[in-house]
């Protein structure tokens, strides 16, 4: 009995010790906290360590961002495709090339302008002088040349802005010009690294990146050119704090907030209460919640902008009967676009094109007559029935049969990002299709599956957003090129509907190298549009508005109607307008 | 003359981290004429294992069991069915022998159905009642009841009623009286004797309780750690045991009175799990370490079971060097 008792005691003690050990090992994790310690030479006196709570609220601009799952809070490497730098502020508070926006205006920044020679084989890029890095070091042509070489050297490592340098030569001209020599005439070369909506090519500091592995270097101090420097980053709370640097090279465009705090708020519900208390200044939040926030806090107002990426449907033309343009057009006629647009969080609109526009359709690339003739935005079930009957899709016992006599059944894939319009279209289509005897199965996929099945062509109908460059819808047609019509199961990097059309291929090949400003290229665009409208390999559904919440209690200056989208990398341009509320 | 049951060199080893020799080279036979054979031994001596093997519920590691000259583990289904009808059992625990969800008479109905003992429902009922009465049970008190509603003695006698109903040639009774009241024991044992005399049923009676064996008479086999130590007429063995182990057993039984219970493990030395676990370790007398008269030879080789030297006890066999003159001298 005694022996058992002592054994028992030993056991209890052992268990207690084990738990104690585990408990001790775990009070708080060691988060990734970056405290910037390296003080560059020409900087201001050593700062007191700042934490969010000590920051004066009226000098701090707080952005509640949302981020996808690969939100990285300790790596500021914009080369890495796997590193998403939008949530930390790194992409917004450091700078890029000259900027060409969707309204066609060039905003000079780190570079001033570019110029092609007469035959499009040489491009001269003029960079801005007197620029410095946010650690105080000067940004010179040496950095630009280093960056170009660095990109080229790492071309096989899958880093961004590398592949466009293949077969290209470059040289410096004086202290502010770089001349690129192209192997053949190309008036679109600059767009590969300058003309992005966001994420254009940007230089890296030679003294930071030299000798570093582009795939694993974390750029822990977030060195780049911009008006802010990194104070701290916390991976637990997903909070990054930035401080304005007053020795910034462009004092005219020095933003007003002394501090910026970027943090991730994954659950909108939680954020609502914090918003109401004035915890944030800018951020995306579902519109239905914004309404509530606005009634609780009068300072909050919505900034509504058009999302530059309209939404549409892709048909897989490898699957019968979607190979038939008439059938595709009939489906288009069954789609009540206006009803879908009305359901979106912020009232959205129906658009006959699938490229970014400023509300007005850019007539230079658009054929209104074709849109009219092929009814690219019309909801007309009766006309759809008529088309189906004419095309030979018989209705037997309320079920419509394809040409081999099988009942038609289509899978319609979509993802849910919390916006009703993204999910409801399929149900509305299914409802209408059922009335004409076609079975459409709406299927909600999780995002990874969606991205896997889409490019592999494993779908009948796919909902997607379509993004292309401003003032240049090339990509909308380029993706339809036959070279992207892979067999099903193989990944297609174009628009994954497996569409083939030699006539369109020929047009695309010409468009790809033509100057979009020239009349000849614009005529080609209109031809391409007509082919698209008649064939409808994908459908245009609607363009969406997006709302971000802006708290005017401490800061104002952001207005609806300003040319930038109020989130993401565009914030870089908007920042200069922000002024203190008092 | 053909024997009813022949057990030949039976061996049962349970494999495990430490092999257990439950039965180790046991041979015996039951003659054609009705007899009672007592299998006695302490717990762990392998007697229940032998019972399960003879009932074909357990396949032995080695050795044979021949029933009427046929190996009971034959593949012949028809023969096996016949064997089931002729060799039956009465188990130790009269409660767990009943499925608690069924009424008790199911044990009777089942055999009637399975072995086609009645051609009509009425006949079945009549035969059931008859068998109940044969074991001194009143049908109206038993039928339609659930097992927990009967007493231990009633339940055990119902088992006998089942046997009566089946009229087997052989009953293997594995500790049938160890869990019933002392008062009921004698009447239970009487029924077994009656079965032998009236219906010609042989009984293999397995017990750790010598007093039961004495009451029943017949032959006796004394088992120790899966081996036979001594064998002979019950009368003779119990009166004058030869093997030291048998002597130890007998000394603990005061009087041959079935109403008194032989205190279990009086020897206080019951060995579990069949003793030494390798066959080489078992090449000796397994009782040696407990034997007051052990000799060197006991530790060196296994004594064979044979008629003791210099004795005129013809029916007696014993596995002990004390009765083997040449060994004793050498």
């Amino acid at each position: 009995m005694l022996a058992t008792k002592s054994k028992r005691l030993a056991f209890v003690a052992a268990m207690a010790a084990l738990f104690a050990l585990m408990a001790c090992a775990s009070p708080v994790s060691e988060p990734i906290v970056i405290e910037v310690t390296s003080t560059p030479e020409p900087m201001m006196p050593a700062e007191v360590e700042l934490v969010f709570g000590d920051l004066p609220r009226d000098e701090t601009f707080i952005v509640a961002s949302q981020a996808p799952n690969n939100d990285v809070w300790d790596s500021f490497n914009h080369y890495q495709a796997a590193t998403y730098n939008n949530a930390s502020g790194y992409n917004q508070l450091t700078q890029e090339m000259p900027f060409l926006e969707w309204d066609g205006v060039i905003y000079p920044w780190l570079a001033q302008s570019w110029e092609y020679d007469g035959d499009g084989t040489e491009l001269t890029l003029t960079i801005t002088e007197g620029v410095n890095w946010n650690d105080g070091m000067p940004l010179t042509i040496e950095d630009w040349l280093f960056t170009l070489q660095y990109n080229a050297d790492n071309a096989d490592k899958g880093i961004a802005w590398a592949s466009f340098l293949t077969d290209i030569e470059w040289r410096a001209e004086g202290s502010n010009q770089i001349v690129f020599t192209l192997p053949e005439s190309n008036f679109r070369f600059h767009q590969n690294f300058i003309g992005h909506i966001a994420g254009a090519w940007r230089p890296v500091a030679k003294h930071v990146w030299e000798g570093q592995d582009a795939t694993t270097f974390k750029n822990p101090d977030a060195i780049g050119s911009g008006p802010y420097r990194l104070v701290s980053a916390n991976s637990d709370t997903r909070t990054v704090i930035w401080e304005r640097r007053d020795e910034y090279w462009d004092p005219e465009r020095l933003p007003a907030p002394k501090y910026q705090v970027w943090l991730k708020r994954p659950e909108a519900d939680v954020a609502v209460f914090e918003w109401e208390e004035g915890a944030y200044d800018l951020g995306r939040i579902p519109f239905q919640l914004m309404t509530r926030m606005m009634s609780a806090n009068a300072h909050i107002k919505p900034l509504v902008h058009q999302d530059p990426c309209p939404r549409g449907l892709i048909f897989n033309v490898m699957n019968e009967p979607l190979d038939d343009p008439l059938f595709r057009r009939a489906l288009g006629l069954l789609m009540n676009r206006q009803a879908v647009a009305n359901l979106a969080n912020v009232p959205s609109y129906v658009t006959p094109v699938l490229w970014p526009n400023t509300g007005e359709i850019d007539e230079r690339f658009y054929d209104a007559a074709a849109a009219e003739e092929f009814e690219v935005t019309t909801f007309d079930p009766e006309k759809a029935v008529q088309l189906l009957d004419e095309a030979g899709y018989a209705l037997v016992d309320g079920v419509r049969l394809d040409k081999s006599g099988n009942p038609i059944s289509l899978d319609a894939f979509y993802i849910d990002i919390g916006d009703p319009a993204w999910t409801v279209w399929s149900w509305l289509l299914a409802e209408q299709a059922e009335k004409v005897g076609i079975e459409v199965n709406p299927r909600l996929l999780d995002i990874p599956t969606f991205f896997a099945q889409g490019p592999n062509g494993e779908f009948d109908i796919l909902f997607r957003w379509f993004c292309t460059r401003p003032s240049d819808p090339t990509a909308m047609y380029d993706g339809l090129h036959s070279k992207y019509a892979m067999p099903i199961g193989e990944r297609s990097s174009g628009i994954p509907g497996r569409y083939r059309n030699p006539e369109l291929d020929a047009i695309i090949d010409q468009i790809r190298t033509g100057d979009p400003a020239s009349a000849a290229t614009q005529e080609l665009f209109r031809q391409a549009y007509r082919i698209w409208a008649e064939e409808q390999p994908y459908l245009s559904l609607f363009g969406e508005n997006e709302g971000v919440a802006f708290n005017t209690q401490y800061w104002t200056g952001l207005e609806v109607g300003q040319p930038w989208v109020h989130w993401g990398a565009h914030f870089r341009q908007m920042m200069v307008w922000i002024v203190p509320a008092q | 003359m053909r024997d009813l049951l022949v057990v030949e060199d039976l061996q049962q080893v349970f494999k495990g981290r430490k092999p257990i020799y439950a039965v180790d080279g046991v041979s015996f036979r039951l003659p054609e004429e009705p007899t009672i054979l007592n299998l006695v031994g302490e717990s762990g001596s392998g007697k229940s294992t032998i019972a399960r093997i003879i009932l074909a519920l357990l396949r032995p590691t080695a050795g044979h069991v021949l029933y009427k000259g046929v190996d009971i583990f034959t593949r012949d289904r028809k023969w096996k069915r016949q064997f089931r009808a002729e060799a039956q059992a009465v188990f130790q625990d009269p409660y767990s022998v009943y499925n608690p969800v069924y009424k008790v008479e199911r044990v009777l109905k089942l055999v009637i159905r399975k072995f086609g003992l009645a051609s009509s429902a009425a006949e079945a009922r009549q035969r059931m009642e008859e068998s109940l009465r044969a074991v001194d049970l009143r049908p109206q008190e038993v039928m339609g009841r659930y097992p927990h509603q009967l007493s231990g003695g009633q339940r055990q006698r119902l088992m006998l009623a089942r046997v009566y109903l089946m009229r087997p040639r052989l009953i293997i009774a594995d500790e049938p009286v160890s869990m019933i009241d002392a008062g009921m024991r004698a009447s239970f044992l009487n029924i077994l004797l009656d079965f032998r005399d009236t219906y010609g049923i042989s009984t293999l009676f397995i017990t750790h309780d010598l007093s039961n064996a004495m009451y029943l008479g017949g032959e006796i086999i004394v088992l120790y750690q899966g081996r036979i130590m001594e064998r002979g007429e019950t009368q003779g063995v119990t009166k004058a045991p030869l093997h030291p182990y048998a002597q130890l057993l007998m000394s603990s039984v005061p009087v041959p009175d079935p109403s008194r219970r032989w205190e279990e493990d009086v020897t206080g030395l019951a060995l579990a799990e069949g003793g030494p676990s390798t066959s080489s370790q078992r090449q000796r007398c397994l009782f040696a370490e407990r034997c007051p008269q052990s000799m060197d030879v006991c530790w060196q080789a296994r004594p064979i079971l044979r008629i003791p030297d210099g004795a005129d006890m013809a029916a007696r066999h014993v596995a002990c060097y004390l009765y083997q003159e040449e060994q004793k001298r050498g």
């Binding site: 659950e267 909108a268 519900d269 609502v272 209460f273 579902p286 239905q288 919640l289 309404t291 509530r292 009803a339 879908v340 009305n342 359901l343 899978d411 849910d416 919390g418 009703p420 999910t423 409801v424 149900w427 509305l428 409802e431 199965n441 709406p442 299927r443 909600l444 996929l445 999780d446 990874p448 599956t449 | 399960r52 009932l55 519920l57 069915r81 089931r84 009808a85 039956q88 059992a89 188990f91 130790q92 625990d93 767990s96 022998v97 009943y98 499925n99 608690p100 969800v101 069924y102 044990v107 089942l110 055999v111 399975k114 072995f115």
Partner: protein, 282 residues
């Protein structure tokens, strides 16, 4: 006391079942005689509670109450089908393992323990993604396939202890073959226990389904109570002020669980008071 438990449980379950079965048609015919309240886009989304929409409308522009009442049946169906699948699998395997001897039994026991110990959530999440074209039955099947280990684990020792009883030997001596022994001798005494395990499995499956939905990786678009809760949480219905769309489905789930639990413990006390401890310890 015992009967009171069962009574309360049965009444609660009956209420839920009534709402599930009659509710949709009542809502359709009485509240919305002219419309289809669960058709997406029927109304303006996120309307607050009003007489027209007693718990408001959801983000897809459907009537919340109509969505709620029509979500109960799929939830219950998933639980029941998955529970039946996992129970029958688990009972079969538990019997097999309990009846098998030696190595096979050891192997099965290791298998059961292994499956039991693998955190099911990640695997469920993964399967939730893997399955093409979700429907109720597939989800139920998947959940059922994950629940068997627990059932097998509790059934196996029961079978083992039963087969040690002499009545199994006696049945064999009485001429019963193995299937007869399993189905006539071993299964009947365990039936009340199996029913008990079944209801645990039903609750487990409903719980898992809702849990999957709530962390956002459930079966796409399947109209269950879990999906309603998950969708409400994601879209911030509490923030909007649509409390009913969160509390009604959550409450319904709890009521189902509670009623099954009450019936269970009640039945359990009647049939087998000794077994209770082994289960509740879980």
């Amino acid at each position: 006391m015992k009967n009171a438990r069962i009574l309360i449980g049965v009444v609660m379950l009956a209420v839920i079942l009534a709402v599930a079965l009659i509710g949709p048609s009542v809502v359709d015919r009485v509240l919305f005689p002219d419309e289809s309240p669960t058709s997406r886009g029927s109304y303006r989304p996120y309307q607050l509670a009003s007489t027209a929409h007693p718990i408001g409308t959801d983000g897809d522009g459907r009537d919340g109450l109509a969505v709620f009442v029509s979500s109960i049946t799929p939830s219950l169906a998933i639980g029941l089908i998955a529970g039946l699948i996992s129970t029958s699998l688990g009972v079969a395997l538990g019997f097999f393992a309990g009846y098998a001897e030696g190595r096979l039994d050891t192997l099965l026991r290791i298998l059961i323990d292994m499956v039991l110990v693998i955190p099911t959530l990640p695997l469920l999440l993964m399967l939730a993604v893997y399955i093409e074209r979700w429907d109720l039955y597939k989800l139920a099947l998947i959940l059922g396939l994950f629940g068997w280990a627990f059932v097998a684990r509790v059934i196996r020792p029961q079978v083992q202890s039963l087969r040690e009883r002499s009545y199994v030997d006696l049945a064999r001596l009485s001429g019963e073959n193995t299937p007869e022994i399993i189905f006539l001798e071993l299964l009947p005494p365990l039936l009340p226990y199996i029913v008990y395990v079944l209801s645990l499995a039903v609750v487990g499956a409903m719980l898992a389904e809702a849990g999957l939905q709530i962390i956002g990786l459930g079966a796409g678009g399947l109209p269950t109570l879990g999906f309603m809760i998950a969708k409400g949480f994601r879209e911030g219905v509490i923030g909007v002020g649509l409390l009913g769309q969160m509390f009604l489905p959550a409450g319904a789930l709890i009521v189902v669980f509670l009623s099954l639990n009450l019936i269970n413990t009640g039945l359990d006390q009647i049939f087998n008071p000794r077994l209770q401890t082994t289960i509740e310890g879980r």
